[in-house]
């Protein structure tokens, strides 16, 4: 259940960035291949946010689709798992996107 540790990191990183401003919403980007379950992040978020400037904030998660490039034929392909092969048959695919775990922005109360 690494989503708990990740949510703790998320809350700490946001709290560090916004100082004493109260946070109403956090917008997070989670890649399809990031190895993190968005629902589990949501589940942990309320608990982790308690007692911080994020208490009561909404967590909005944008799932980022994954794309890869084949080493053999250089085609760019959509990926839903690390097991996806290229149409040319090659399994040597480098992941271009889809491993993101990024805090996009936060909405804070104007003091």
């Amino acid at each position: 259940m690494h989503e708990l540790a990740i949510t703790e990191s998320l809350v700490a990183a946001v709290a560090d960035s916004v100082g004493s401003d109260r946070v109403a919403r956090v917008r997070l980007q989670v890649g399809r291949l990031a190895g993190v379950v968005p629902e589990a992040l949501q589940f942990c978020f309320e608990t982790c946010a308690r007692g911080t400037v994020l208490e009561g904030a909404a967590l909005v998660i944008d799932v980022i689709p994954a794309r890869g490039r084949c080493r053999q034929c250089a085609a760019e392909i959509a990926m839903t798992s690390f097991l996806d092969a290229c149409a040319c048959g090659s399994i040597e695919v480098d992941v271009l996107s889809g491993e993101e775990l990024r805090i996009k922005n936060v909405e804070v109360e104007v003091q």
Binding site: I6, L28, I103, V110
Partner: protein, 257 residues
Amino acid sequence: MCATCGCGTTGHEHGHEHGHEHEHGHGHEHGHDHLHEGYRIVSLEQDVLAQNDRLAARNRALFAARQIAAFNFTSAPGAGKTTLLQALIKQIGGRFPLAVIEGDQETARDADRIRETGTPVVQINTRTGCHLDAQMVNAAVTALDPPRSALLLIENVGNLVCPALFDLGERAKVVILSVTEGEDKPLKYPHMFRAAAVVVLTKVDLLPHLDFNLDECLANIRRVNPFVRVFQVSSKQGTGLSAFCDFMAAQVATAAA
């Protein structure tokens, strides 16, 4: 730059009434939701694990300064990580300095086993935590104070999921898969096998007693990670240990170069 939303234009209206159609007037793709009055958007564009990654970079710099080759060993519980480390330490036979960091939820049992070999070791207990992080390893390295040109073996908590995401500052991850676990494990835990540079198949002395299909397992490893290096080892009987030891010795030499 607009101080309210962090976009490249200035002078546009943010404090609008909610729930009506209106012109946004940005002239570029913006993608943020309309704000309630009294709120502002702060653009962060920051990796969630940035703090761990910073600490991992610090560990990596320390290893580089001391020419230390550090490896992060991960596996499911019971795959034989500690037994492999014990066998590897014996095989190295003092040819170069060694240090070990042991990670477990509880107890110092693994550290005790390593200590019996005469190798400096620090045990980390993560309690409820399911993985080591860069901060824990930093503290352990400070306590261990490994010498120059050492091989640092970090045994992570037995878990094939969480440790994949947490960089410790290691040169590479080594995943250990015992042949009693089944040949389809790489397919079931692709993140970890994808993150590794080396896979060690352990307990190969048991192959005659199992229905384990070695070729299928190797194909599954390649399917998840076509670039990974695979060793087949029996820590108990010594099979394949010299090849794995030579690989580690070469890594130590590379770190010193």
